[in-house]
């Protein structure tokens, strides 16, 4: 590639006397952007298919099953459909902002993939401020959404945009505060550094490191639901209240961008939680081959992430939406104070047990397992006691 660029420079493709470094930087940036896009978009799109199938199963429906095996290629068909549709821009809208908004949202969803730690070597850039970057960049979404709400010149869109801004900014605080305990414990902001500080076995995950981390993980997960406009915090696009919220006036590919970003952000949020609390890609060393190890680590990471994504879909299929004042009070009255307590508690914990405490880890693991068992028992008790399929239609 360098040789190709050099020959292009020699031919004068970039002007008479270009700065060689500048050309290299731009070329690498374009290449990275293409790679990121190619990684991020299929992830987000496949998640849409998973979500629709899972949701359908929860709701006693079948879901998309026509395009490809089990409707797996539905996302492709939908994408093509959206691209082919007319891109309507309302005449009263602020056309420039209206067009720009979806790109900001998509940007906010593509950039975090740069530091996504898929395995010990599969990471585009192991930034030394990785976790800071991955929490900061998605906040661009709020600019895009607010811009979309304002530029649409539609009151429902405006309310949606304002709600979204209020919600994302509020929940950034508990989410950010829940990340600090881990930074305190590891002393690094690098994604890989945080994962390496954990072990492959559950009791060495930060989720179970101490009681404060356990609470922080839950707060981080719920806050990430809110930041991504997921049920029960899907107020910005509350269909029954605001028609479609900030996306009311959008159509065609621009509309698709918003939703691709939503689903992609779901995966990113899951990846953050996995990295910080669930041990990331850590897998016991079973093979000398780097390729095999990386594949196993990748699979571990993906399974953990997809499980969290599934939980988020499950929540979407189960819970109603909270009201805006309830959402705000949940954040400011409960999450923010609790996350501060978590932060102080973890600081104290680190001061007392600088190397961690194995007994506490095993105790937390036991408590976690007990909660899981209780939860499963509850789910089993309350689901499908009818246990009977009825077909009453005269012709079936």
């Amino acid at each position: 590639m360098q040789r190709w660029l050099d020959s292009l420079i020699a031919q004068g493709a970039f002007g008479a006397n270009p700065s060689r470094n500048l050309v290299y930087t731009i070329a690498i940036a374009i290449a990275c952007a293409i790679v990121l896009f190619l990684i991020a978009v299929p992830f987000a799109s496949v998640v849409t298919w998973v979500e629709r199938r899972v949701w359908a199963r929860i709701q006693s429906r079948i879901g998309p099953n026509r395009v490809g095996p089990n409707g797996f290629l539905q996302w492709l068909a939908d994408g093509i459909k959206h691209v082919c549709k007319e891109d309507v821009i309302p005449s009263e809208a602020d056309a420039r902002l209206f067009k720009l908004a979806p790109y900001l949202v998509v940007l906010a969803f593509i950039l975090p993939w740069a530091v996504m730690p898929f395995s010990s070597s599969l990471i585009l850039a192991d930034l030394n401020i990785g976790i800071l970057y991955i929490t900061a960049v998605p906040a661009l979404t709020v600019v895009g959404v607010l811009m979309a709400g304002w530029a649409s010149n539609n009151k429902w869109s405006l309310i949606g945009g304002i709600r979204s801004a209020a919600q994302i900014i509020s929940y950034e605080i508990p989410a950010g505060l829940s990340i600090f305990p881990i930074v305190l414990m590891t002393g690094t902001l690098s994604m890989q550094g945080i994962i390496r500080a954990q072990g492959w076995s559950p009791e060495r995950w930060f989720l179970f490191a101490n009681p404060f981390c356990f609470v922080a993980a839950i707060i981080l997960f719920i806050s990430s639901l809110a930041e991504n406009n997921r049920t029960p915090f899907d107020l910005p696009e509350a269909e029954s209240e605001l028609v479609a919220g900030f996306a009311t006036e959008y159509s065609s590919m621009r509309y698709l961008f918003f939703f691709m970003a939503e689903w992609g952000n779901m995966f990113i949020a899951a990846a953050i939680v996995t990295t910080l609390f669930l041990g990331g890609w850590r897998f016991p060393a079973v093979s000398g081959s780097a390729v095999v190890m990386n594949a196993l680590q990748f699979a571990t990471f993906m399974i953990k992430c997809l499980f969290l994504v599934f939980v988020s879909m499950w929540i979407r299929g189960t819970l109603p939406r909270v009201r805006i004042d309830q959402m705000m009070s949940l954040c400011w009255k409960y999450f923010v104070p609790i996350s501060f307590i978590d932060l102080i508690g973890t600081a104290g914990w680190v001061a007392i047990f600088p190397e961690g405490n194995v007994i506490a880890q095993w105790t937390m693991l036991a408590i976690g397992m007990a909660l899981l068992v209780l939860f499963v028992a509850r789910v089993v008790t309350f689901t499908r006691r009818a246990g009977m399929e009825l077909y009453l239609h005269p012709t079936i």
Binding site: Q59, T318, R323, H393
Partner: protein, 373 residues
């Protein structure tokens, strides 16, 4: 700052095309941010002159039109029209016919309430309860389809009885369905009704006290949710309801205040349990015999007027019919519960949030065609 910073109320137009207005309704909302100053209902988008049509199509011919008065529970409007004509013309209905009517209407009440509770789920953002409720409603539609051939606009009843007897094997299917529904209702409650978020959203929202409920002429479940014990089936018995045993559930304020949205919502769940009870009894003690009395084709009731009341899924439905002795009614008027409920919305909406307006509409269970006819 306060002089420089200019604020104004936002006027929002909710409907007629809005996903949660249960048909073509329109509200003009004056809002201060998320809090509403007022929501003014604007009715009339679904006015189809059904009452006037009655004056032109005659007594028998009007029966299919009554389905359109309230398409969610068309059996009640069928029954109301049939009862009004029978009272005018002194027509005797065979006892089996009356039982068929009760069975059909109570199944329709189940279907209507299932839709209502499901829509409540959808209006506060949970799709799953809606689809689960519709799944159960489909089975009732299957049963009713077998009974009268239609799934929505039934045209099942006739002056003097019902059009068709129960098909063979229908009774067993109906009982199997009731057996199936009881645990499903429990499941529905644990999935949705007793969900913490659901209770938080519905409890203490849009409270209607008993005096207000009476003053604003609320009927049916909305009235009973405020603690007023008035059920036409009990207090002005018609058909074979005196022979059937059932309770009238009342709003208790178990989750908040008596007469809040949660009470109105739970009223539907409780009424479904009572309807199942009525259905079991009716299916059991149904006598043999004809289902349709003798009524002349050219039905001409003597001159006079009558007013009958039916307890529909949306409450006390009044039918006022004036006959001038010809084959066409001189005047027909339907008094429907949704119309009265719409009148209450403007008062209740003051100080609610926009999200609560959706809850309020869903909890009052207004159906657009019933408002406008």
């Amino acid at each position: 700052m306060s002089e420089a910073f200019h604020t104004e109320e936002m006027t929002l137009n909710m409907g007629p095309q809005h996903p949660s207005t249960h048909g073509v309704l329109r509200f003009v909302i004056k809002a201060d941010g998320e809090v509403m100053r007022e929501a003014i209902p604007d009715v009339g988008y679904l006015h189809r002159s059904i009452e006037k049509i009655a004056e032109k199509v005659g007594y028998h011919g009007f029966m299919p039109y009554t389905d359109r008065v309230d398409y969610v529970c068309a059996m009640f409007t069928n029954q109301g029209w049939a009862m009004a004509c029978e009272k005018l013309g002194n027509v005797e209905v065979p006892r089996r016919g009356e039982y068929c009517r009760v069975i059909a209407t109570e199944f329709n009440r189940l279907a209507s309430h299932l839709l209502t509770v499901g829509l409540m789920g959808m209006d506060i953002g949970a799709m799953t309860p809606f689809l689960h409720a519709l799944r159960e409603r489909e089975m009732i539609n299957d049963l009713i389809e077998e009974l009268c051939g239609a799934r929505l606009t039934f045209n099942y009843m006739r002056i003097g009885g019902v059009a068709w007897d129960l098909p063979p094997g229908w009774r067993e299917k109906a009982i199997a369905y009731l057996d199936h529904l009881a645990p499903i209702l429990d499941e529905f409650n644990s999935l949705f009704s007793y969900n913490k978020i659901c209770i938080e959203r519905l409890a203490n929202v849009a409270v209607i006290d008993a005096a207000d409920a009476i003053n604003y002429n609320l009927v049916g479940p909305n009235l009973r949710a405020s603690g007023v014990n008035w059920d036409v089936r009990k207090d002005m018995p018609y058909s074979v309801y005196p022979e059937l045993e059932f309770d009238v559930p009342l709003g208790s304020g178990e989750w908040g205040t008596t007469g809040d949205a949660m009470d109105r919502y739970m009223m539907r769940i409780r009424e479904m349990v009572q309807s199942s009870r009525i259905l079991r009894q009716a299916l059991k003690q149904m006598p043999e015999g004809a289902v349709l009395g003798k009524v002349v084709r050219n039905f001409k009731p003597p001159a006079g007027e009558c007013q009958i009341r039916v307890e529909s899924a949306r409450g006390d439905q009044g039918w006022y019919v004036v006959s001038d002795g010809t084959g066409f009614p001189w005047r027909v008027h339907v008094r429907t519960g949704s119309f009265a409920a719409m009148g209450m919305i403007q008062k209740l909406s003051r100080g609610l949030m926009i999200a609560d307006l959706v809850v309020l509409i869903a909890s009052l269970d207004v159906i657009a065609p019933e408002i406008d006819r």
